[in-house]
């Protein structure tokens, strides 16, 4: 069972994965129902579940969830549409990289959340501001990671393509791009996860809807059950989107997953 790097069977893997959720839930129930932590600070699992049902049936929480998903996906897609091509160009052409890389490396460290007050000033508290936070948070990360992936392409494959008659455009589109595509998709999966943290931060300040807004509202009412349920929903959506992304990658790039 504890042989280093020894693979574990799929059934056992699933069972162990679920087991930890059970352990976690039991620990949570233990400290809350057992009275170790007062309910004011941390609701018990039953209370959280009940709050969740109420949120959906009485407070129209489904709308908040929808709005938040829309913001994340919208901001992320806009960022990716511009960041991926730029990253590919930077990875492929060293002069493009030399031009952009220092600035983008700097911009990457600017925290997206620190832009919120400024963005409210520029764009108000509407959707444009929420999208902008996610775009700022995702764009620079995607550019740099894609540039590194493409820049790390196998030079021997590029040389082989040249001896087969490929010129500049052919090398970029038929060698660098397909070779890097699976890793680019993995990068997008990762950054989508980060985008979820940015959207919640954006919704904590100056929002009238969304999961973050609901969590903020619940805090005013000291309803820890609702707050925990909101956080749980974010985790659940993250898990689902991650799963879908992985499935899509396995289907799009079967060659990459051949052992």
């Amino acid at each position: 069972m504890f042989d280093p790097l020894k693979p574990v069977s799929p059934g056992r893997r699933t069972a162990l994965g679920i087991l930890f959720f059970v352990v976690f839930l039991a620990g949570w129930a233990g400290i809350t129902l057992g009275g170790i932590v007062p309910p004011l600070f941390l609701a018990d699992p039953l209370k959280a579940a009940k709050s969740g049902v109420e949120l959906f049936t009485e407070y129209g929480f489904a709308g908040d969830v929808g709005v938040t998903i829309w913001r994340v996906v919208g901001g992320f897609v806009i960022a990716a549409v511009f960041a991926v091509p730029l990253g590919i160009l930077m990875g492929a052409f060293k002069s493009v990289e030399a031009f952009f890389e220092p600035f983008i490396s700097f911009a990457r460290y600017l925290p997206a959340s620190a832009f919120i007050p400024l963005l409210i000033l520029w764009a108000g508290v509407g959707e444009a501001q929420k999208l902008a936070v996610i775009i700022i948070g995702s764009f620079f990360q995607i550019v740099l990671m894609v540039a590194v992936i493409v820049g790390g392409s196998r030079i021997d494959l590029v040389e082989a393509s040249k001896t087969l008659g490929a010129k500049r455009a052919g090398i970029v589109l038929r060698v660098l791009l397909p070779g890097a595509a699976p890793q680019i998709a993995e990068t997008l999966r990762l950054v989508l996860g980060w985008a979820w943290t940015y959207v919640i931060v954006a919704e904590l300040i100056g929002a009238q809807s969304g999961i973050g807004h609901m969590i903020m509202d619940s805090q005013r009412l000291l309803d820890t059950g609702q707050m925990i349920f909101g956080i749980f929903i974010i985790g659940l959506i993250g898990l689902i989107s991650d799963f879908l992304f992985k499935q899509a990658n396995a289907r799009l790039y079967p060659w990459y997953f051949i052992k």
């Binding site: 021997d156 040249k162 001896t163 087969l164 060698v175 079967p254 060659w255 990459y256 051949i258």
Partner: protein
């Protein structure tokens, strides 16, 4: 007129971090005739791969020039098909798509691409594996695909850089016969780099022996063995005589090369 002329080609690599420049290749001359199968034999690090890369256009000579059908070579092109020692199939393409890579680049119509691919898939014995990805193939099969991929472009000359170097002995022997069969049938012009003496004799009508670094052509030996060649030829007295001679030539260079490292 010669098919390929290598005129006074040398290569000096600049020193790394202020170190001495490396003279990889001394000025070299070579004339390759149409249908020649020339093997370039030399100890490792003698510049034989450098010479081949310069012919391919992947590296630029410090002096001299390479002429293919009288035209100076400046950059890589599909008129010089290359097979590398490392596995360089595109991992995201199937065997068939790999073979069609150069044809697609030339905008050959799909139907014609399919016909050409079929022909070479048969020729290198990969029927049944057309839709496999490179990772699903053995090393020998990958190199056969690489060979078919280069041949599909119908190049004027084939450049092979120790293409069977990473294969086990049995597979290597089969690959030699396969390539020789293709050459006998299609009468391609071939430049083949190797450090294996048996391989150099068996494949070639001329063997070029190169000296240890800095490399230059030491001798140019015509191999007067009949075609078609069969693997049993490797045990014939004529073959043994060539082998004895080349072993002497190459041994001196291997010793020099080993001493230079100390």
């Amino acid at each position: 007129m010669s098919k390929l002329r290598i005129e006074n080609v040398s290569r000096v690599f600049p020193g790394v971090r202020g170190g001495e420049p490396t003279r990889a290749l001394e000025p070299t001359n070579l004339s390759v005739e149409d249908n020649d199968f020339i093997t370039i034999l030399g100890p490792s690090g003698c510049g034989k791969s450098t010479l081949l890369r310069i012919v391919a256009g992947l590296d630029q000579p410090t002096t001299g020039q390479v002429l293919l059908d009288g035209q100076a070579v400046r950059e890589p092109g599909p008129d010089r098909g290359m097979v590398f020692q490392s596995y360089t199939l595109f991992p995201w393409l199937t065997v068939r798509e790999n073979i069609c890579f150069g044809l697609r680049e030339k905008n050959v119509p799909d139907r014609q691409q399919a016909e050409i691919a079929d022909h070479f898939i048969n020729q290198v014995g990969l029927r049944g594996f057309e839709n496999h990805f490179p990772k699903q193939l053995s090393g020998g099969m990958q190199q056969r695909t690489a060979l078919a991929r280069a041949l599909a472009n119908d190049p004027k000359i084939m450049l092979l850089d120790e293409p069977f170097g990473a294969l086990d002995n049995q597979t290597r022997a089969l690959m030699q016969e396969l390539l020789l069969g293709i050459w006998e049938a299609a009468k391609k012009t071939v430049l083949f780099v190797t450090h294996d003496i048996d391989e150099a004799i068996f494949m070639a009508n001329r063997v070029l022996v190169m000296t240890a670094r800095p490399g230059k052509v030491k001798c140019d030996i015509a191999i007067d063995l009949p075609h078609p060649r069969h693997y049993t030829m490797k045990t014939s007295p004529e073959f043994a005589a060539y082998k004895a001679r080349l072993t002497e030539e190459i041994r001196v260079e291997a010793i020099r090369s080993a001493q230079a490292e100390h």
